[in-house]
């Protein structure tokens, strides 16, 4: 048995669910998850399996329990034909009512209450729910020394230097304490080793860290954070140099756009444009394209395109959804108190489904609720119009060379 991953396939009967739950417990013990986290992991397993039993009857489910970077994760995959897909929305609008303590009638959102990250996706003909709990890592002692750095600078991806950088950064950036990488730098290394996050440091010739920048690439977009400048001198110079090195690193890697929702720390020169609180930069020449835009958002999107200096032909998105029922893929990141939605299937019940989700999210006081939609897809553009009417506002547009442009809409109460 590979202790980093366990795969089991069971029928969703009470007998088998009971038999498999101790496996989750054993996994948390192997990874020495602290008691509270271990309890949450086991509770989540029970709640998800019970939920699926209620939704699918005694169908088969593939279970994977695995080490997932900074998380321990569980994944439940069922064949598409085994479940009414509306049951995979966080809120199933076709279920009569929810009773909070009744496991069998609870919503999927409720089933996911114990976990730190949670998403629903479609993968090769299966619906998959992945839920994760943050692992327990050894605490690092604070490192309150601020280095003094002189050029020439080097870049480093040495693990020890990256770890040290976060140890120092933790002291310099107390407002980042909510971020697990700052709270516990070993969690950063766990994700880094798995390739979920990329990073490098700028150092001096003696490899004393001066700055660190981290990023991940999703669908041709590099979403980065930082640079977090560690030195007490030459801060602007180091900040600018870090960003320049990041751009050079990403230059030939299929990246269309670099983006960050955060303020840019220290001087990042003139390397980015800035619209609506988001810094971005295209990596290649963009020669326009066509966008489907719902009439309700036409003016907003046109103005936004002008601010971004992007040339797009706008086509009015009309018509209706082809499918009957909708499935919204959701990614909950508890650390940020944030939910990100993307539609998997857009059906004629989309408005009701989205509304039901918003009602629940507002009850649970999520700080950030977003939905990401492709404007190169007519139906997703229609969905943007519906979301707009429901209180979602355009936050930013992610350019995709006019082939895969997306908008991120953010809910405003």
């Amino acid at each position: 048995m590979n202790s980093k991953e366990i795969q089991i396939k069971i029928s969703l009967t009470t007998k088998y669910i009971s038999a498999v739950l101790p496996v989750f417990q054993a996994f948390t013990a192997e990874y020495k998850l602290e008691k509270k986290a271990a309890t949450r992991f086991q509770l989540a397993a029970e709640e998800f399996l019970t939920y699926l039993q209620g939704a699918c009857g005694t169908e088969q489910v593939e279970i994977m329990i695995f080490e997932n970077g900074k998380y321990l994760s569980m994944r439940f995959c069922i064949k598409q034909e085994s479940i009414d897909l509306s049951g995979l929305n966080l809120i199933d609008i076709y279920k009569k009512s929810y009773i909070e303590d009744d496991l069998e009638s609870m919503s999927l959102l409720l089933a996911g209450r114990s976990v730190d990250e949670f998403n629903v996706s479609i993968e090769e003909g299966q619906y998959c729910i992945t839920a994760s709990i943050e692992r327990t890592f050894e605490q690092l002692k604070p490192y309150a020394i601020r280095p003094t750095i002189k050029p020439p600078y080097k870049t480093s991806q040495n693990r020890d230097i990256l770890l040290l950088s976060f140890q120092i950064a933790k002291e310099i950036y107390p407002d980042m304490a909510g971020n697990s990488y700052f709270r516990n730098p070993y969690s950063f290394l766990a994700d880094y080793d798995k390739g979920y996050i990329q990073a490098f440091c700028i150092t001096d010739e003696k490899e004393t860290p001066a700055a660190i920048v981290i990023w991940r690439v999703i669908s041709g977009t590099a979403i980065f954070k930082g640079p977090y400048v560690l030195s007490q001198n030459n801060r602007e110079d180091i900040g600018g140099h870090t960003i320049e090195q990041l751009i050079m690193k990403l230059a030939k890697q299929n990246i269309i756009c670099m983006i960050t929702e955060e303020s840019l720390y220290e001087n990042s020169g003139d390397y980015f444009d800035f619209v609506n609180g988001v810094h971005y930069r295209l990596m290649e020449e963009d020669n326009g394209g066509n966008l489907w835009v719902p009439d309700q958002l036409k003016e907003t999107i046109q103005k936004h395109l002008e601010k971004m200096e992007l040339t797009r032909q706008i086509i009015s998105a009309q018509g209706s959804f082809e499918a009957e029922r909708s499935l919204i893929s959701t990614n909950i990141v508890k650390e940020e108190n944030r939910i990100n939605m993307t539609p998997n299937i857009l059906g004629r019940d989309f408005e009701q489904v989205l509304e039901a989700h918003i009602v629940e999210f507002e009850k649970r006081c999520f700080d950030i609720i977003t939905i990401e939609l492709k404007l190169t897809d007519r139906q997703q553009a229609l969905a943007a119009g519906i979301a707009g009417a429901m209180g979602f506002k355009l936050w930013y547009l992610i350019p995709g060379e006019g082939i895969s442009d997306r908008v991120v809409l953010r809910y405003e109460r």
Partner: protein
């Protein structure tokens, strides 16, 4: 039920990792998109004076009947014309469908899995690109602080698995170059490797200290020279370039060579360009010098950091992302090359052109900054 076809599992990992090159869309489509009537292409280092007069004439006089007949499979007449011009044997030349093809030929002929090539980190991207999609590691060496190829760092990067070293001289996009002494010193220390000296922009250099790879290969058998008809000779649309090396090198390169890849039009035009003589080169150099001096003055007045080296181009650093400046200039009918892809973020590269076009460019730039 039919199995789903998944082509990704058939492709090697090094292919999947590559960023496919997407050429720009045709001018007519760009004009529509940007709502402009005219477009000055200053992005591809094309010669605005076009091809030499004799090449023009043979293209105009090209007999249509020949299009249904295969061209010479190894560009016979071009090789003989080049041999006469450069006092070499015709067997020392390989002619390809653009210099990209001959670069690929070199890598295919000499490199296998586990080998690497050495070149600069910020240079003509094709060496790195072709190496990558051939599954060969490109070892990329930073330029020095003057944006020149750094000979010591290049030498330090060479290891037992290095088969080819690519030197773009003068360098695209910085226009910097190695003198004769620097080149010879490097070749003598580089060991038993193929040294490809890419002189795509060599004809633009008037400095007598600029090395001539055609001469160097007489002394150093491992030197291979690339040249093209796309730049100085204004035949970019015909797609024709060549390499020259020692008999031994070319004998091996020929085994990886694609015959019949150069079309008949290209062959007649290139032959005419070779035989014409140097008047066209002289006129082009005059145009380039005039444009360079004009831009130098304008950039200085505007406080713009610039890199004005040799070749038919220069670079200028913008106070915004180069990709943003590209879009702004396009709205004024000016197309430049963004340099992020060359690892020069915020820089643009501008092809020199006739003075009316250079003035249009500066006028547009002033409105865009």
């Amino acid at each position: 039920m039919k199995d789903r076809f998944i082509p990704e599992i058939l492709a090697p990992d090094y292919i999947k990792a590559i960023d496919p090159y997407i050429p720009s869309i045709p001018d007519s489509e760009l004009k529509k998109m940007y709502g402009i009537n005219k477009l000055h292409r200053l992005n591809n280092n094309e010669n605005p004076l076009g091809p030499p007069s004799m090449a023009r004439k043979v293209l105009e006089d090209f007999e249509m009947g020949r299009v249904s007949i295969y061209p010479s499979g190894d560009s016979y007449y071009i090789r003989y014309a080049l041999a006469e011009k450069f006092k070499k044997s015709p067997q020392q030349f390989l002619v390809g469908n653009g210099s990209n093809e001959v670069i690929a030929c070199a890598i295919k002929a000499f490199c296998q899995s586990g080998d690497n090539i050495v070149t600069a980190e910020r240079t003509y991207a094709t060496y790195e690109w072709i190496a990558e999609f051939s599954g060969i590691e490109p070892k990329l060496v930073p330029l020095n602080e003057k944006y020149e190829y750094d000979p010591e760092r290049m030498l330090a990067a060479i290891d037992d698995n290095t088969k080819i070293i690519f030197i773009c001289n003068p360098n695209n996009p910085t226009g910097t170059w190695w003198s004769k002494d620097t080149m010879v010193n490097f070749i003598e220390r580089a060991g038993n490797r193929i040294i490809v000296i890419d002189e795509a922009y060599g004809e633009f250099v008037e400095n007598c200290d600029f090395p001539d790879a055609m001469e160097l290969m007489n002394t150093y058998e491992n030197v291979v020279c690339f040249r093209t008809f796309s730049k100085m000779y204004g035949l970019a649309g015909i797609r024709i370039g060549y390499l020259c090396g020692s008999d031994k090198c070319i004998d091996l390169l020929r085994r990886a060579y694609t015959v019949y890849s150069v079309n008949s039009l290209g062959q007649v035009a290139a032959k005419a360009a070779i035989e014409q003589g140097d008047e066209h080169i002289k006129q082009t150099r005059i145009m380039v010098n005039e444009a360079r001096n004009y831009l130098r003055k304008e950039f200085e007045n505007m406080g713009i950091e610039m890199q004005l080296g040799e070749g038919i181009f220069c670079m200028a650093k913008m106070n915004c992302p180069d990709t943003t400046m590209y879009r702004r200039l396009m709205k004024h009918g000016i197309m430049v090359r963004t340099m992020t892809g060359f690892r020069f973020p915020n820089w643009i590269r501008i092809t020199y052109s006739t003075m009316d076009v250079m003035r249009d460019f500066i006028e547009a730039l002033k409105q865009c900054i």
